[in-house]
Symmetry: C2
């Protein structure tokens, strides 16, 4: 099994959904997460609870009891998770370099004209 350095945790699709909900309404209970997800999923309460328990194991969430209820907060920021996920994609699919992904984006027309302008604007103003 590819054993990437601990700390570089990869989230599964379902886990991302839960994390998004937690980032949105932390500190959150499983019930809060279920409500936040709304009709985005049809999950049973226990499904969410199970995933949150696993996310605690993975180190993506922290939990604390309040009365008889577990309250969860993220153990990493959304940006941190995004960075890991991106890193994973880069490693798997783009030979590990940002450059080759950018090349792909630019050459393969994955960007709309609007996105291009936006990026140009940001990059150049930031660089000045």
């Amino acid at each position: 099994m590819a054993q990437r350095k601990r700390k570089d945790l990869q989230l599964s699709e379902a886990e991302w959904k839960v994390m998004h909900a937690v980032w949105e309404c932390a500190p959150a209970t499983a019930r809060d997460v279920l409500d936040t997800l709304g009709d985005e999923t049809e999950w049973a309460y226990t499904t969410v609870k199970t995933m949150m328990t696993r996310l605690v194991d993975k180190g993506a969430l922290k939990t604390k009891m309040r009365g008889n209820t577990s309250v969860y907060v993220p153990a990493l920021t959304k940006n941190h998770a995004r960075t890991s996920a991106l890193r994973g994609l880069l490693d798997r699919a783009f030979g590990g370099t940002m450059g080759s992904m950018m090349h792909f984006l630019v050459e393969e027309e994955k960007l709309t004209a609007k996105e291009r302008r936006e990026i140009l604007r940001r990059l150049s103003e930031d660089q000045a």
Copy 2:
């Protein structure tokens, strides 16, 4: 289980390795792939063979017998696979929009100065 439209197949980490090898030396036998991978992995021959069989099932590879040996060719291009993978990352981690990923890249300093210059160059020359 999140049931994305078939066709939008997501490759696992090990599968990416195999696919990279096949793209590199197609048409390729399992042996070719194993050789191409070199010391990148310690896989047994049958491990590679199993994965290639699964990739055929998934529709990522096509196979044909030559004598008593299976010869494989990719059933999708690297760019196609990259697009799917990127799409997956976008959906999972960036709310499904390219824009928010680019925002992340630009604002979060994920790019080196060199990469920025490179992107600027490509974008602007392409846009002219």
